[in-house]
């Protein structure tokens, strides 16, 4: 690790020896800020109102008679008209800030420590607190002003909230238990990364070099012959599909071809290709979109075949996409999702897109227990779900590793989590918030155990804990915010970074480093650990991780021979060593084969039957192929890409162009396969066009044939 003092000394030395000073005065900065404020005000004035939110079906976790929480809107500072005079702008901004603060102050309850300073929007802006983290033990938390906080005998503040009964974990806090003036958010603590990595950060190429050495050792010791390296053209196709979310299109091939023909080593050409893909805005946008979706799916337990369109999932996906576009660190994203509080309605003043995560999890899994166990699985790689009913050390001996006690201890981190319905323009939206968890009688409120019935029928108690990380027994949010502490722990844990590495590796190479169903090669686990450490050293940068994996030999090898695959096939229980690019055996379809199927269908008049059989479809916007049977590991956004408006427009352009029919076919083949069309392919495609009344439709079918070809999919690992 570079010495911090040395860096400080260098900077001051330069200043001492050169008398360097800031190049801009405070006045310059004020003018700069005013220009931006003015521009922002203008943008806000021009902005269209937000679209209404689609209905979201969720089983309300609370009683049906719950009253919706209605929150009066606050004035936003950009509501004022812009001015070109910077003095006026500053004045307006200040006035609006005061107005905002006053509005919030008026809307919020006056409590012991209340007032404008308790506005969560303002608290969020506080300087980060000095970290005093204890790695293993729950840290005592300084009492904070909180209107939810009830008085305990020692240090908590009283509240007058009437409680008809102490809530249990399975009972969502009743709205009539929480007075209107006490519904304010308790925001998660400002997050400070708590990860110390001894290693110096390595650039992707260097780290991939280390991985390649380890892979070579593993292959040598296991007598695994690596498959031939992919041709660079196919490698570029794989890179586009697996790292950026889509293969290059025809109009993008020219630039790529110019890189491929350089008189350089394959390694340098790969570097140039990666640089090209990551620097090209179109691909960078695809990268953000693709990984935003993949992460959302993974973290919400949604498989591509589910074709989820749930509004909360989409909100989380879009949120993650934006975070990735901003180059935010992955551990910060995880912390944000797990600890999120706020409204899931985008027109609400406390809107927090990350809050949709917990709502989406509950919808996806149906019960709070299953939702929390998915957090353990997705973020820590710990499968605990079986232990909900089966106890490793109890009668059943079925669960692998986790005990029932451990399952409920993890679930106890979510005992303060509440979902409170919001009524916003008829939408079914929620307010995600942490509330005091007080299951016991008033005299015992310093303890908040989660009670459960064990597999032996006995009643047990659990407090929030995972591994050696324990939070103590207190259920008051202001004493211990259980979910936030869990988020902190997860974001800083080695298990989390290994889980991310495993996931990204699995997305790019079809099989994670930890193998399938626990069949892992120890050398690959060691590799995962080192890659995870470097991922942390590189600031949890997703772009770095994807580039590093792309530079590995595991990403460059071909699919190998059947013999090679038979010798090491993780889908048949082998521990993967990545000497071949793993794939699932599917029906082989060459471009000519697919074209012939459809051409024959056209000739026999059975085109509709063939198309509706799941092989191909020509209906815009619909899923053309059954992802679970044909594209098990090809991201379904390949389908989306194929049916996207952009592709649709391109097909229109091709159909309406002055190109000859053969040229049109050649164009499509070039776009899909990156090579000129062969004569037999042109012949079959012409048969499709001959037998179709609509050239545009026929061209689309030709396009689908090409996307179904083994040549298109082979570099992706699907046959």
């Amino acid at each position: 690790m570079t010495d911090a003092h040395e860096k400080i000394l260098d900077a001051f030395l330069e200043e001492a020896l050169t008398d360097a000073r800031p190049g801009r005065s405070a006045g310059d900065i004020v003018r700069y800020i005013n220009q931006h404020l003015e521009s922002a005000l203008q943008d806000a004035a021009d902005a269209a109102p937000l679209a209404p939110i689609a209905d979201a079906a969720i089983e309300s976790p609370g009683p049906t008679q719950q009253q919706p929480v209605k929150r009066p809107p606050v004035e936003y500072e950009h509501a004022a008209a812009p001015s070109r005079d910077w003095v006026s702008i500053v004045s307006i901004a200040i006035v609006l800030l005061v107005a905002t603060a006053l509005t919030i102050w008026l809307l919020l309850p006056a409590n012991d420590n209340g007032g404008p300073g308790d506005n969560p929007n303002i608290v969020k802006q506080l300087p980060p607190a000095a970290p005093e983290k204890n790695d293993t033990q729950p840290a005592p938390v300084t009492p904070q002003p909180d209107d939810n906080l009830a008085q305990n005998t020692d240090e908590v503040i009283p509240d007058n909230r009437p409680r008809k009964q102490a809530p249990s974990d399975t009972q969502i806090a009743r709205r009539d238990d929480i007075p209107e003036d006490q519904t304010r958010l308790v925001l998660p603590a400002a997050w400070v990364r708590n990860v110390s990595v001894a290693d110096d950060p390595l650039p992707p190429g260097d780290m991939a070099g280390q991985i390649n050495n380890q892979l070579a050792d593993a292959w040598q010791s296991g007598n695994d012959q690596p498959a031939e390296m992919l041709e660079l053209r196919n490698w570029a196709n794989r890179l586009g599909s697996r790292a950026m979310g889509r293969a290059p299109a025809a109009d993008e091939l020219e630039e790529i071809n110019s890189i491929l023909v350089q008189a350089k080593s394959p390694e340098l050409i790969r570097e140039d290709l990666v640089e090209h893909f990551f620097n090209k805005p179109e691909f960078r946008a695809e990268f953000d979109r693709y990984w935003g979706q993949m992460l959302a799916w993974e973290l919400m337990g949604i498989s591509p075949s589910m074709q989820a369109t749930d509004s909360d999932m989409l909100q989380v996906r879009d949120h993650l996409r934006q975070r990735i576009a901003d180059n935010d660190a992955v551990d910060a994203m995880a912390y944000e999702l797990i600890s999120a509080v706020g409204s899931t309605a985008s027109d609400h003043e406390e809107f927090n897109p990350a809050a949709s995560y917990m709502v989406g999890l509950l919808k996806r899994f149906g019960t709070r227990e299953l939702a929390s166990s998915h957090v353990a699985s997705a973020y820590l790689g710990q499968e605990t779900q079986c232990a909900q009913c089966h106890n490793t050390y109890g009668d059943d001996q079925l669960a692998d590793g986790a005990t029932q006690q451990e399952f409920y201890e993890f679930h106890a981190f979510f005992s303060q989590l509440r979902f409170e319905p919001l009524e916003t323009a008829g939408d079914n939206r929620y307010y995600v918030v942490n509330r005091n968890y007080l299951p016991l009688a008033e005299q015992q409120r310093s303890e908040a155990p989660l009670k459960y019935t064990g597999s032996d029928g006995q009643e047990y108690e659990a407090w929030p804990a995972v591994g050696e990380f324990e939070l103590g027994k207190n259920g008051f949010v202001a004493k211990v915010d259980r979910r936030t502490e869990l988020a902190n722990m997860i974001a800083g844990s080695p298990q989390f970074r290994e889980a991310v590495v495993d996931f990204v590796w699995g997305c790019m190479l079809n099989v994670p480093l930890s193998g399938i169903d626990g069949h892992a090669d120890p050398k690959m686990l060691e590799l995962r650990s080192e890659l995870a450490t470097q991922f942390a050293a590189n600031d949890f940068d997703l772009q770095w991780l994807v580039q590093t994996i792309a530079f590995t030999d595991a990403f460059a090898v071909g699919v190998g021979t059947e013999e090679q695959l038979a010798a090491n096939n993780p889908f048949l229980g082998d521990a993967p060593r990545f000497n071949v690019f793993y794939h699932r055996l599917e029906n082989r379809r060459s471009a000519i084969g697919s074209l012939a199927i459809v051409a024959n269908a056209y000739r026999s008049g059975e085109v509709e039957e063939v198309l509706s059989a799941g092989l191909l479809a020509r209906v815009e916007g619909q899923t053309a192929m059954q992802p679970q049977t044909i594209l098990p590991f090809v991201p379904s956004n390949d389908n989306q890409w194929a049916t996207s408006p952009r592709i649709s427009r391109q097909l229109d352009q091709i159909a309406n162009s002055s190109m000859s029919r053969t040229q049109k076919i050649e164009h499509l083949v070039l776009a899909a396969l990156g090579r000129p069309a062969r004569d037999d392919e042109i012949e079959q495609a012409n048969l499709i066009l001959d037998n179709s009344e609509n050239e545009r439709t026929a061209l689309q079918d030709v396009w689908w044939c090409l996307l179904n070809s083994v040549e298109y999919k082979l570099p992706l690992g699907v046959r």
Partner: protein
């Protein structure tokens, strides 16, 4: 551990703060911090103004100078990292927490004037040859090879000379900072 600055300290709404005055008070300290992170002077200028833009776009509570300076440094640090990465550079990121701790320990006045004074005093205590080497390196931006030629020593010798000089400066500055 969570702690809230609001627990014991009075709060001043941002409306009570003159933005120009705030910038004037914290610009230099933030600029120096960004330079220490690795920005050149022009980059530091850019990040300083973006940092103030970011915090003045939204309300924030003022507690004291140190808390505000720490907050500004955090924002500046984040901007620096994200813009570097957007430029496609792989950034060797210091552990922000550790860097902040060292900065807070050494630059106790938040702006760096004390540190700079201590450093100037310590520079005067170096041998002429050591100081000349550092001047060539930091003032004249000369390559190590050229410094070695001027000093009539090997390149490795020049490296060692500068490294030893910097070590002495570090120790000297730390002593002085501790004393103050």
């Amino acid at each position: 551990m969570k702690s809230s600055p609001s627990a014991n300290q009075p709060q001043i709404s941002s409306s009570d703060i003159d933005p120009a005055e705030l910038i004037e008070r914290h610009q230099l300290g933030l600029w120096r911090y960004l330079r220490a992170l690795g920005c050149d002077a022009a980059q530091a200028d850019d990040f300083v103004q973006d940092t103030f833009l970011k915090i003045l776009q939204k309300p924030f509570n003022y507690y004291d100078e140190d808390a505000t300076a720490a907050y500004l440094r955090r924002i500046g640090h984040n901007l620096f990292i994200s813009m570097q990465r957007r430029a496609g550079k792989v950034v060797a990121v210091e552990d922000v927490q550790k860097f902040e701790q060292v900065w807070s320990r050494l630059v106790s006045d938040s702006h760096g004037e004390d540190y700079l004074d201590a450093l100037r005093t310590c520079l005067d205590q170096l041998s002429d040859r050591s100081r000349w080497a550092l001047e060539m390196r930091f003032r004249d931006k000369m390559s190590r090879a050229n410094i070695a030629v001027n000093l009539e020593i090997t390149e490795n010798g020049a490296k060692n000379l500068m490294q030893r000089a910097k070590t002495r400066l570090r120790e000297c500055v730390e002593r002085k900072v501790k004393t103050t």
